[in-house]
C-alpha cells in the first residue's frame, strides 16, 4: 500500500475496514444510537427504573403503592377532618407537628424506595474468568482427581474478621465472591451490600445505602401513626362529650377509618421499629438475625465481629456513618468495550520499539494507523458488553409474594425475643452451595420478620443454571489495533 498522503482517504480502503466492524456511513448513526444509551437500560438485575435512571425500584411495586395510598389517605383525612377541630379546640400546633411528621415520613419513604440499596455490579468477564481460574486451581489442588459423583467443594473463601471466621460465598449469578454481610436478593436478582431484607412495602431491597432511610421511615411512621391515632381518639372523645358518642361518630366518619387503620398499623410498625432498633444497637442485619449467624446458640465463641462494642457507637455508625455512592452508575453512558486480548500479527510493538524494526513496516503501519485512528476517533468502537444470560427457574417465592402480603394481617405483635426460636430451625450448613445460595435469597417483609417460620420461603427450591454468553465483537482488525498502538507509542513520548 502506497502512502496516500494526508488528503482524503480512498473509500475502498475504508470499506475494507468496515467489513470487520461496521460501515463508516451507518456506524455514526448506529454508534450514536448505542452510545446514547445509559447503563440502566442494560442493567442485568430485575429492577425498574424511572426518570431516566434516577429512580430505582424492585420489579413488583404494587404493595408500595398500597403503602403510599394508606399513608396519604389516612394523613389526608386527618388533616381534613380532625385537624380543624383540634386546632381550634386544643392548639394549632397539632396540624403543624402532624405536617412535619408527614413530610418526614414521605421523604424517607421515597428515599428508601427510590435509592440504590447498595447493589454490587456484576463481575466483568475478565474478572469472572480470573476468579474461575483461581477456583479451578484451588479445586484441583484440593481434589486431585475427582471421582465420579463427587460434588465439587462449595465455592467459599474464609476470612478472619476481628477474630471470627467468616465465609465468603461465591455468587453464581453475579460471578463474584460476596463481601461479608452481602447477600443476593432473589427478587431483584442483585447482590446487595449489607443486605437486610427485601421489603415489598417500600418496593425495594433494604441494604447498606438505604438502611438508615428505612429505619427513619419506620420510626417516623410509628410516631405518625401513634400521633394520628391519639388525636383521632381525642377528637372523638371531645366531640362525644358535647354531642354524644354516636353523634360524634356520625359527624366525623373519617375518624373511624383513620382509627381502624392506625390501630392495626401501630402494632406492626411500632414492633418493627423496636426490632430494628435492637438490630441497629447490636449492629446486625435482619438476614443475620434470622439465620442466627452471631447467636450464642451456635457456639460459645460466636460473636458479632462487626459490632463496635457499645450501643451508641453502633447506632451512630448505622445512622450517621458515611453514605457510599451508588456503584452501579445508572445514568452513566455505556462506554465502548474494553480492549480485546492482542492478536500479534506484525512486528509493531507498543512499548520499547527498537530500531531493528523495519522502517518501511513502521511507515506503513503509521499510515494505516492514521487512517484507522481517525476513523476510531470519529466512530467509537461498538460496545461489546457481555450479556449474561442466567437461566433460572421462576422463583416460587416470587409468585407467592402477593399471598403472604394479602393473607398477612397487620396486627402481628411478636417481640424480637421470638427470633431465637426461628434461628434454630433455619440454621444453615455450608455443605451444598445451592442451598446456601438459596438461603441467601430469602426475603422478608417487615411484618413477616417477627412471624413464625412457616412464612419464610425456605421450602422453595431454587436452582440456577447459568449460561454465560460473552458477546464480543468480531476480532478486531489487527491493523486497527496497531494503529493505536502506534498512537500510544507517540503519546508516551
Amino acid at each position: 500500500m502506497t502512502p496516500g498522503g494526508g488528503g482524503p482517504m480512498k473509500d475502498c480502503e475504508y470499506s475494507q475496514i468496515s467489513t470487520h466492524s461496521s460501515s463508516p456511513m451507518e456506524s455514526p448513526h448506529k454508534k450514536k444510537k448505542i452510545a446514547a444509551r445509559r447503563k440502566w437500560e442494560v442493567f442485568p438485575g430485575r429492577n425498574k427504573f424511572f426518570c431516566n435512571g434516577r429512580i430505582m425500584m424492585a420489579r413488583q411495586t404494587g404493595v408500595f403503592y398500597l403503602t403510599l395510598v394508606l399513608i396519604l389517605v389516612t394523613s389526608g383525612l386527618f388533616f381534613a377532618f380532625d385537624c380543624p377541630y383540634l386546632a381550634v379546640k386544643i392548639t394549632p400546633a397539632i396540624p403543624v407537628v402532624g405536617g412535619i411528621l408527614f413530610f418526614f415520613v414521605m421523604g424517607t419513604l421515597l428515599r428508601t424506595s427510590f435509592s440504590d440499596p447498595g447493589v454490587l455490579p456484576r463481575a466483568t468477564p475478565d474478572e469472572a474468568a480470573d476468579l474461575e481460574r483461581q477456583i479451578g486451581n484451588a479445586e484441583d489442588i484440593a481434589n486431585g482427581t475427582s471421582s465420579g459423583g463427587y460434588r465439587p467443594p462449595p465455592r467459599t473463601r474464609e476470612v478472619i474478621i476481628n477474630g471470627q471466621t467468616v465465609k465468603l460465598k461465591y455468587c453464581f449469578t453475579c460471578k463474584i465472591f460476596r463481601p461479608p454481610r452481602a447477600s443476593h436478593c432473589s427478587l431483584c436478582d442483585n447482590c446487595v451490600e449489607r443486605f437486610d431484607h427485601h421489603c415489598p412495602w417500600v418496593g425495594n431491597c433494604v441494604g447498606k445505602r438505604n438502611y438508615r432511610f428505612f429505619y427513619m421511615f419506620i420510626l417516623s411512621l410509628s410516631f405518625l401513626t401513634v400521633f394520628i391515632f391519639a388525636f383521632v381518639i381525642t377528637h372523638v372523645i371531645l366531640r362525644s362529650q358535647q354531642t354524644g358518642f354516636l353523634n360524634a361518630l356520625k359527624d366525623s366518619p373519617a375518624s373511624v377509618l383513620e382509627a381502624v387503620v392506625c390501630f392495626f398499623s401501630v402494632w406492626s410498625i411500632v414492633g418493627l421499629s423496636g426490632f430494628h432498633t435492637y438490630l441497629i444497637s447490636s449492629n446486625q442485619t435482619t438476614n443475620e438475625d434470622i439465620k442466627g449467624s452471631w447467636s450464642n446458640k451456635r457456639g460459645k465463641e460466636n460473636y458479632n465481629p462487626y459490632s463496635y462494642g457499645n450501643i451508641i457507637t453502633n447506632c451512630c455508625a448505622a445512622l450517621c456513618g458515611p453514605i457510599s455512592p451508588s456503584l452501579i452508575d445508572r445514568r452513566g453512558f455505556i462506554q465502548p468495550d474494553t480492549p480485546q486480548p492482542a492478536a500479534p500479527t506484525n512486528g509493531i510493538t507498543m512499548y520499547g520499539a527498537t530500531q531493528s524494526q523495519s522502517n518501511m513496516c513502521d511507515q506503513d503501519q503509521c499510515i494505516q494507523s492514521t487512517k484507522f485512528v481517525l476513523q476510531a476517533a470519529a466512530t467509537p468502537l461498538l460496545q461489546s458488553e457481555p450479556s449474561l444470560t442466567s437461566e433460572e427457574l421462576p422463583l416460587p417465592g416470587k409468585t407467592t409474594l402477593g399471598t403472604p402480603c394479602a393473607t398477612l394481617s397487620l396486627g402481628q405483635p411478636t417481640p424480637p425475643s421470638s427470633m431465637p426460636n426461628l434461628t434454630s430451625e433455619t440454621v444453615l450448613t455450608d455443605m451444598i452451595p445451592l442451598k446456601e445460595e438459596h438461603d441467601g435469597h430469602q426475603f422478608l417483609t417487615p411484618e413477616e420478620a417477627p412471624s413464625p417460620p412457616g412464612m419464610l420461603s425456605t421450602g422453595s427450591p431454587i436452582t440456577h443454571s447459568h449460561t454465560l454468553h460473552v458477546l464480543s465483537l468480531a476480532s478486531q482488525d489487527s491493523l486497527h489495533e496497531d494503529s493505536v498502538r502506534g498512537l500510544v507509542k507517540l503519546s508516551s513520548v
Binding site: T354, C366, S492
Partner: protein, 181 residues
C-alpha cells in the same frame, strides 16, 4: 513529501487526543492480560485492597512502588469511610433535612472518591503507563478489585527506549518512505 506529513498528522492527532486521558487509549489498544487485586476483608467490611504483590507484575514494576500505591488507595478509602465528628455532623444534618440536602450537596465520600480518581490518573501517567500498565479505578469495578491491565511488551528492552525510538521511528519512517520512492 507527503510522507513527511504523516508524522505531523499523527502528532497533531496525538496532541488533540492528549486532551482525553489514557482511558481512551486503553480501550483501543491491545492488551496482554489483566491482573486483579482483590479486596482485603480482614478488617471487616471497610474498603481495603490486598497489598500482596501479584506475581504477574514481577517483571513490570517494582514491588515497593506497587505496594505504596495500594497503601495510599487504602488510606484514601479509610478516610472516606471514617466514622467521626464530621461524618456524624453530615449525617445529622442530612437527617434533619429529611435527606433532601443530598440533592444539592456532595457527600464527603464522593469528594474523596474524586480525589482517588485524580490520584489514580496521576499514578497512571507517571508510574504505570511508562511501564506498560494501567490501573482502573476500583469504583468502575464496583469496588471489588483493582484491575491492572498489562499491555503487551514485545521487546523486553524496557520503556526507556520507547520515547526515543518512537520519535526516531516516525522520522525514519518518513525518511525510509522517501528513500523507498
Amino acid at each position: 513529501m507527503a510522507t513527511e506529513q504523516k508524522p505531523c498528522l499523527l502528532i497533531e492527532f496525538v496532541v488533540s487526543l492528549e486532551g482525553h486521558n489514557l482511558q481512551e487509549l486503553r480501550r483501543s489498544a491491545s492488551l496482554a492480560t489483566k491482573v486483579f487485586v482483590q479486596r482485603d476483608y480482614s478488617d471487616g467490611t471497610i474498603c481495603q485492597f490486598q497489598t500482596k504483590f501479584p506475581p504477574e507484575l514481577d517483571s513490570r514494576i517494582e514491588r515497593q512502588l506497587f505496594e505504596e500505591t495500594v497503601k495510599t488507595l487504602n488510606n484514601f478509602y479509610a478516610e472516606a469511610e471514617k466514622i467521626g465528628g464530621s461524618s456524624y455532623l453530615e449525617g445529622c444534618l442530612a437527617c434533619a433535612t429529611a435527606y433532601f440536602i443530598f440533592l444539592c450537596m456532595e457527600t464527603h465520600y464522593e469528594k474523596v472518591l474524586k480525589k482517588i480518581s485524580r490520584y489514580i490518573q496521576e499514578q497512571n501517567e507517571k508510574i504505570f503507563a511508562p511501564r506498560g500498565l494501567l490501573l482502573t479505578d476500583p469504583v468502575e469495578r464496583g469496588m471489588r478489585v483493582i484491575e491492572i491491565s498489562i499491555y503487551e511488551d514485545r521487546c523486553s528492552s524496557g520503556s526507556a527506549s520507547s520515547g526515543s525510538s518512537s520519535s526516531s521511528g516516525s522520522s525514519s519512517g518518513g525518511g525510509g518512505g522517501a528513500g523507498g520512492r
